[in-house]
Amino acid sequence: MSLESAATTAAPVARPNAPPKMQGDKVGVFYGEKQALFDVDLKIEQFNVTSLIGPSGCGKSTFLRSLNRMNDTIDGCRVVGKITLDKDDIYDPSIDVVELRARVGMVFQKPNPFPKSIYENVAYGPKIHGIARNKADLDEIVHSSLRRAGLWNEVKDRLNEPGTGLSGGQQQRLCIARAIATKPEVLLMDEPCSALDPIATAVIEELIDELRENFTIVIVTHSMQQAARVSQKTAFFHLGKLIEEGKTEDIFTNPRNKQTQDYITGRIG
């Protein structure tokens, strides 16, 4: 399968005139003395899937993690420039990082369910954020999150069994259910399918496309086919710099930059 055809035929059309949900303005990230990301300007449009691609170590995960300040957890990590969520600077001292992460949720590369029951996994977020007012409310949130993550039919009879007992693909959908249970506005996904087999990957990709109805999604992926299949916008990173960004079909069919072209045709990476 050629990349061009995948991009043109499978990629859903971007929504016209989607307003930017998040915006990075000259974002740079330092680990100690070492600069890992340089002057990234990127708009994340609402209710679109934006994929970040590029070779290993290009800074795409670093950028993703700076969108909900998961970088704060690394000692010596420093972010410069400005990232806004609905015009609020998320690095402003008045922002509570916990509230930010409730609005910008994250799904990780390796499925990481808590070693608790399936129900508790999904209910944890709503509990700590006080989203549910009572038990019935909480049940409803858990059930609908599992349904939207496409997991409900598989687990509805065993909600009290440990989440770690599920298969890899199911675990990752559980993590997605857990992330959407807090009703975030933006969902960050850090290579969510890299630990999964092709069938589970297909299920997740389908899910991402459905979630686009209600969530703004940013996904880091190693697979260019995946970027082409699921995203409307694509940004290409290389050596810590944002090389090119634009509509997915443009990036894959008509890259303006030589490095982008080299990457998508497999010459670097």
Binding site: R101, G105, F108, N112, H129, T182
Partner: protein
């Protein structure tokens, strides 16, 4: 060797000469080396075996106690000769019960109570602890006075030893503590079925006493229990809190480095130094009471803290980082991440470390000697502020007593201590087996 080392004259077509690598010598060296290893292990295990066998063989007899069951006549003429117990109940407390006991044994042996010399020997036959045994019977039910009933009395320590066969009867009579007459009486009572050797509950319940047969670990066990409770209540929360701070929150800087170096060194400070600390700070500076379990508990807390911190930090570190990211990723604060997810997962490891730290504290003696736990305490303490001793300190005190029966009790007490430690370690192992999680 030198010849074979010069093979240059060999013909090309011939098979290469078998070279001598000194294999025989080298294999012999290999064999010897292995042997040294085996010998080392045998020495280690041998000493373990000798240690345990010597303790058990010398100590197991302390768990039974020779007792004499005889009909005792609660004679009113001895207990309350002026018949004034209705007006002055104190006569029943101060009555001469040893005479009652002595007369009862004499009667059972068929010895006349007028035979003064024989009566003196009989007086040494029964433990002086019969005083409290008989007093309790009378105080509980004064109507027993004037009647006769069967009572089980403790035999004196020397008679106990003789009954257990620990006294060498070939030694001339005047050089041993039990006379031939007493041995004959013992046999006579045995034939009457009056001698029994029941389980020695007194070893676990009595307080300090100068007579071996009425000396027990009661006070020491209560004291040790108080101290363990204090260690658990203080060291566990402080240790866990400190570990959480160092492992989950502290940034790497000179201050946390300093704390870390401190903890590692405290773990290696000789325990006796903690005793000096307790004496100088808790007793002299804060004016806490000497010999009290509260001071002992605090000293042991400080001593156990490094152990618990090191174990807790290892347990926290074993929780995979993905759990932490998962919690943070859905907007849990760091505090919620720690208390909702990391800490529950680390709990088995923390508890295992705590039990092992407690076991070490239970066997620790030296610091307690310095804060006055070497004390003769007859009554069980009712609060951690009362004077008490501790299990290992009681062993130390008994070890300094010369009497044969105290040697037996010392070993018995060592056995009790080892049984407690074994139970704690088994609990730790079971906990680890049951909850061990592989990530």
């Amino acid at each position: 060797m030198t010849d074979a080392a010069l093979p240059h004259a060999a013909v090309d077509t011939a098979a290469p000469a078998k070279r001598d690598f000194g294999l025989k010598r080298r294999h012999a060296a290999e064999f010897r080396f292995r042997l040294y290893g085996i010998v080392a292990i045998v020495i280690g295990l041998g000493f373990l075996a000798i240690l345990l066998v010597s303790i058990v063989s010398k100590g197991y007899t302390a768990f039974v106690q020779t007792s004499i069951t005889v009909p005792v006549e609660f004679s009113a003429s001895i207990i309350d000769k002026d018949n004034e117990r209705a007006t002055n109940p104190r006569v029943l407390v101060s009555a001469n019960y040893p005479i009652v006991a002595r007369n009862a044994v004499a009667k059972a042996l068929g010895v006349s109570i007028d035979d003064k010399a024989a009566m003196r020997d009989i007086a040494k036959f029964v433990s002086d602890g019969s005083r409290s045994t008989l007093r309790e019977i009378v105080l509980a039910d004064p109507s027993v006075i004037g009647t006769t009933r069967n009572v089980t009395l403790l035999a004196a320590a020397d008679i106990d030893s003789a009954n257990k066969g620990q006294i060498d009867l070939t030694v001339p009579q005047d050089k041993r503590k039990v006379s031939d007459q007493q041995v004959a009486w013992l046999d006579q009572l045995k034939q009457q079925g009056a001698i029994s050797t029941p389980f020695n509950w007194g070893l676990l319940t009595f307080g300090a006493s100068s007579r071996p047969e009425t000396a027990g670990l009661g006070v020491a066990l209560v004291g040790s229990l108080y101290m363990m409770a204090i260690v658990l209540l203080c060291a566990l929360p402080i240790g866990v809190a400190a570990s959480i701070y160092l492992e989950e929150f502290a940034k790497k800087n000179r201050f946390t480095d300093f704390i870390e170096v401190n903890i590692n060194n405290l773990a290696a400070v000789p325990s006796i130094v903690y005793g000096l600390l307790g004496l100088a700070v808790f007793i002299n500076f804060f004016g806490m009471p000497r010999s009290a379990p509260i001071v002992g508990g605090l000293v042991l807390t400080l001593m156990t803290l490094p152990t618990i911190i090191i174990a807790t930090r290892a347990a926290l570190r074993a929780v995979p980082p993905s759990i932490r990211s998962a919690a943070l990723g859905i907007g849990a604060s760091r505090m919620q991440m720690v208390f909702d997810h990391v800490l529950p997962l680390a709990t088995p490891g923390i508890l295992t470390g705590t039990i092992i730290g407690l076991a070490r504290a239970l066997g620790e003696t030296a610091p307690l000697l310095l804060i006055g736990m070497v004390a003769f305490v007859a009554d069980r303490p009712t609060s951690p502020l009362d004077p008490a001793t501790a299990l290992p300190v009681q062993i130390y005190m008994w070890a300094n007593e010369a009497e044969r029966a105290f040697v037996e009790r010392t070993q018995g007490a060592v056995l009790v201590l080892l049984i407690f430690l074994a139970l704690m370690n088994i609990a730790a192992i079971l906990l680890r087996r049951r909850f061990e999680r592989r990530w």
